[in-house]
Amino acid sequence: MKIIQICVQILIITTFLLIGNAIHSYAHLPIPGSVIGLVLLFLALYLRIIPLKLVDVGAKLLTAELLLFFIPSAVGIMNYPDLFGIVGIKLIIIIFISTVFVMMGTGVTAHFLSRKKVQTDDFKS
């Protein structure tokens, strides 16, 4: 029963994907169809066109098992044998350094902007 419910919900979500893909190709938008579908599903929920419980379980499964869906692409690394040598080590170092920069920049900005907000709230009260 649960499996049928999940399948139906995934089909509903897939319908939004297909609509997104259709808009992407007919309107020649540079945004991927999946992202257009995401926005449409959000709007449908927000405007109460469809209730949350119609997609909730299916969405949870799809996002929880995301790793499974991109494993086949990750296995594509076997077509790039260079990556297993010094090139791979260089790339890993770049990724570590860049990730530290990204996290510091995001954290400091968020800290600054949300602290300002708390202060104004305090001021109001």
Binding site: P32, V39, A59, F69, P72, V75, I77, L83, F96, A110
Partner: protein, 223 residues
């Protein structure tokens, strides 16, 4: 023909389930399904001399679910809409800064080490969630399979350095902690954030999804 179709699907599902069971029993980062699953599959295919094209003939049916998974991100955004409204400035501001740093630092670091332009463009979307990173990689002229690898390495790197950045920078607010983890390391950062706290996790999942949208919008205008 039929056997090669089912090979990719069955093998991937089987190793995925095994690696999840392993991770449940031994929850160490280096035993995460993110590493174990692709590594086991690559070893298996190499040992049995199956080339990637044969494997992918079946396995690409699994990849088709990346599209619906992206659409499904609308649900956590909808559930956290009150949080997003309340912290709109902090979320949007920090994500725009984060995305700009992610793209430019990947670009210049890779460029300075003389990587090919395909490699550089595959690196740029590495800090956002895989399905959208792969789409963006195609848009920028990168190779989506390479991007998937870089996204995985980013997730692992972020799970290691994220808590260190938080401690070193003395970041105490749940919003800033969650946002930096979700922005810097997508799904991996989000699960790290949930292990710190519920609120940190919510901010991280919002950051992960909105960072992908911000990346698309910024790359349409600037790249």
């Amino acid at each position: 023909m039929i056997s090669s179709l089912s090979l990719g699907i069955v093998l991937t599902l089987f190793i995925y389930m095994l690696s999840k069971m392993l991770a449940k029993r031994y929850p160490y980062l280096w035993l995460s399904p993110l590493i174990i699953c692709p590594v086991t599959l690559v070893l298996f295919l190499s040992v049995f001399h199956v080339n990637y094209t044969t494997y992918a003939r079946g396995a690409h049916y699994i990849s088709l679910l990346l599209g619906p998974a992206t659409v499904a991100f609308a649900v956590p955004i909808y559930k956290n809409r009150a949080l997003i409204k309340q912290y709109a400035t902090a979320i949007l501001g920090s994500l725009v800064i984060g995305v700009i740093i992610a793209f430019t630092s990947s670009y210049f670091l890779a460029k300075s080490l003389n990587f090919s332009s395909q490699m550089v463009h595959s690196m740029m979307p590495r800090s956002i969630t895989t399905p959208i990173a792969m789409d963006l990689s195609t848009m920028l002229g990168g190779q989506p399979n390479l991007t998937a690898i870089f996204v995985i390495v980013t997730g692992l790197a972020g799970s290691i350095v994220g808590p260190l950045v938080i401690r070193f920078m003395r970041i105490r607010s749940a919003s800033a902690r969650g946002l930096l983890l979700g922005m810097g390391a997508h799904g991996c950062g989000t699960s790290t954030a949930f292990s710190i706290g519920e609120l940190e996790g919510s901010f991280a999942s919002v950051a992960m999804i909105l960072a992908a949208l911000v990346s698309i919008i910024l790359s349409i205008f600037f790249f």
